[in-house]
Structures are given as C-alpha cells and as structure tokens.
C-alpha cells in the first residue's frame, strides 16, 4: 500500500478544504436567501428545465445524482411547501411524477440570481480561463474514475 507524499497530502487537503468551504458557503447563501438547501434547489432546476416541468422520480433522481430515498424525502418536503406536486404516472402504475408548480417556479426564479451571482463570484471570477479549462478536464477525469468503479462492480456480478 502506497501512502501519500507530503506534496500529495498538501494538494489533497487543500482541495477538500476549498470544496467543502465553497459548498457550505453556497448552501448557506441559498438557505438564507431562498429558504432551501442546494440539493432542493437542484431539484427545482431539473424540473424547470424539462418540457412540461415534470419528471418521473427515477429520472429526476438521475438528473440530481440523488438516491431514490433522498429524493423521495426531498420531494415530500417540496410538496408540503407547495413548490411541487406529485401525480401518478399513466404508463406505469408504480411510477410517480413530480411536477413543478407555478409557485415553485416563481420561488426558483427569485432564488436563481443570488445563487448564480455567488457561483460566479467564487468560482468563475477567481479562476483564469486556463484554470477553467483545466478544471473541466479534472472533473471529467474524476467522474470517469468513479463511473468505471461502478462498471467494475457490475462486471463482478457472476454471469454478467
């Protein structure tokens, strides 16, 4: 087993610090200005970008990179707020469809500018175009490394 060098540790810790501080900052901003955490904001965004502003729970879960359970709890809360409604799926009786309400859309419209401004201010404004290009590549590489993980797991299943 290979440990991390001092240099690797520095990079690793710096990365985690930056990322967690950043996302805590974003979460706090959204919670303060829009009364919801970022995970819930993402749900509203995903719905708002879909034609019909409605999606099946499982598709919504994929879009938000969320577990079914998490999404179910979250949508329950959003429904209680009146920002989303759930209705049955006509083609599959198991299914359930979440739809963004007009009020939910209005809330999202009100929340978006502050959120986008925060993202721009702390990400795009502090990085050079070159760093942004690098970040793009880094994100892809990390994501690819994680999804091949899943593939490997899937490949381990006998008779697959």
């Amino acid at each position: 087993m290979r440990w991390l060098s001092a240099e690797e540790q520095r990079i690793w810790r710096g990365f985690m610090t930056a990322v967690t501080t950043f996302s805590e900052h974003l979460d706090r901003q959204l919670q303060r200005d829009a009364g919801m955490p970022m995970a819930y904001y993402e749900i509203l965004v995903a719905l708002s970008e879909t034609p019909g502003r409605a999606l099946r729970m499982s598709e919504l879960a994929m879009m938000c990179h969320s577990s079914r359970s998490r999404l179910s709890h979250a949508v329950a809360k959003l429904e209680k707020e009146g920002w989303v409604v759930r209705r049955a799926c006509p083609s599959d009786r198991r299914g359930s469809i979440a739809e963004l309400t007009d009020e939910g859309f209005a809330v999202l419209e009100a929340a978006a500018p502050g959120h986008v401004t925060t993202v721009r201010e702390h990400l795009f404004d502090v990085l050079t175009p070159e760093q942004l290009r690098a970040l793009d590549g880094i994100s892809r590489a990390i994501s690819a490394g994680l999804s091949t993980e899943c593939d490997r797991a899937r490949a381990e299943v006998p008779e697959f």
Copy 2:
C-alpha cells in the same frame, strides 16, 4: 446580473457532480470499512498528528474547518465510542481538551490504509502531474476567494 454561459454551466455542473460523487464515495467507503463518516475521521487524524494527541476544542475546530457546534456533537459521539476523551483545560477553565485514546488511535490506524487507497485510486491515479499542479492552483484560488469574503464582512463592521 450576469448569467452563466452554456460553457460555464457545463463546467460548473461537471465540477459539482465530480466533487459530490467523489466525496459520497469516500464517505461510504469509510462508513463501511471504519464505521465513521469522513468528518469524524478528520477529527481523529488531526488529533493523531498533534504532539500529545490532544487539542483544545477550538483549535481542533479550526484544523477540521468545522463549527464549534458540529465538533462538540462529533466529539461527544467519538467519546461514546471510546475513541476520544475530554478533559478540562488547566490554563483556561472554560476550555476543554479532546484527547485521542489508544483505542481511537488503533481504529484510525486500521481505517487509514483503505481511505488512502481510495483517495489515491480516484484522485491521484486519474490525474496527470500537470492536472495535479493545476488543481493545487485552483484550490488555492477558490479558498482565497472565500476568505477574502470573510475579510470583507469583517471590514463592514463599523469602527473596525
């Protein structure tokens, strides 16, 4: 107010996806193999690296970039597990000192290899040396952008 371009959105979402998937993966690995979330692991690491394996709560909070409240809850749990003990601070009667127990150290030693391996596998193994250098700069820039935020807030306080 300036919206994000399509390209910026792509980078932004890709970045968040990579980061959240990655840290969820790490959290799950630690939870499964060591029975604790990453935040708690970080606490044990910070203590283990301090001479005497003990730190005041406030210093520990800074090291872990954690709020006092979060740390207090976390250390309470770690104490219940027997991995940490709390004792009074001799120089400041308000203070409280968290100390890593031998059992806590043993648990940490057992957990470390799996954690390091996961980090290496999904971060250092998937990035080129050039990307790692870029990541270092990016992390610094983001962290700097967030701390100047605090400075500005501090500067806004009247008579400061």
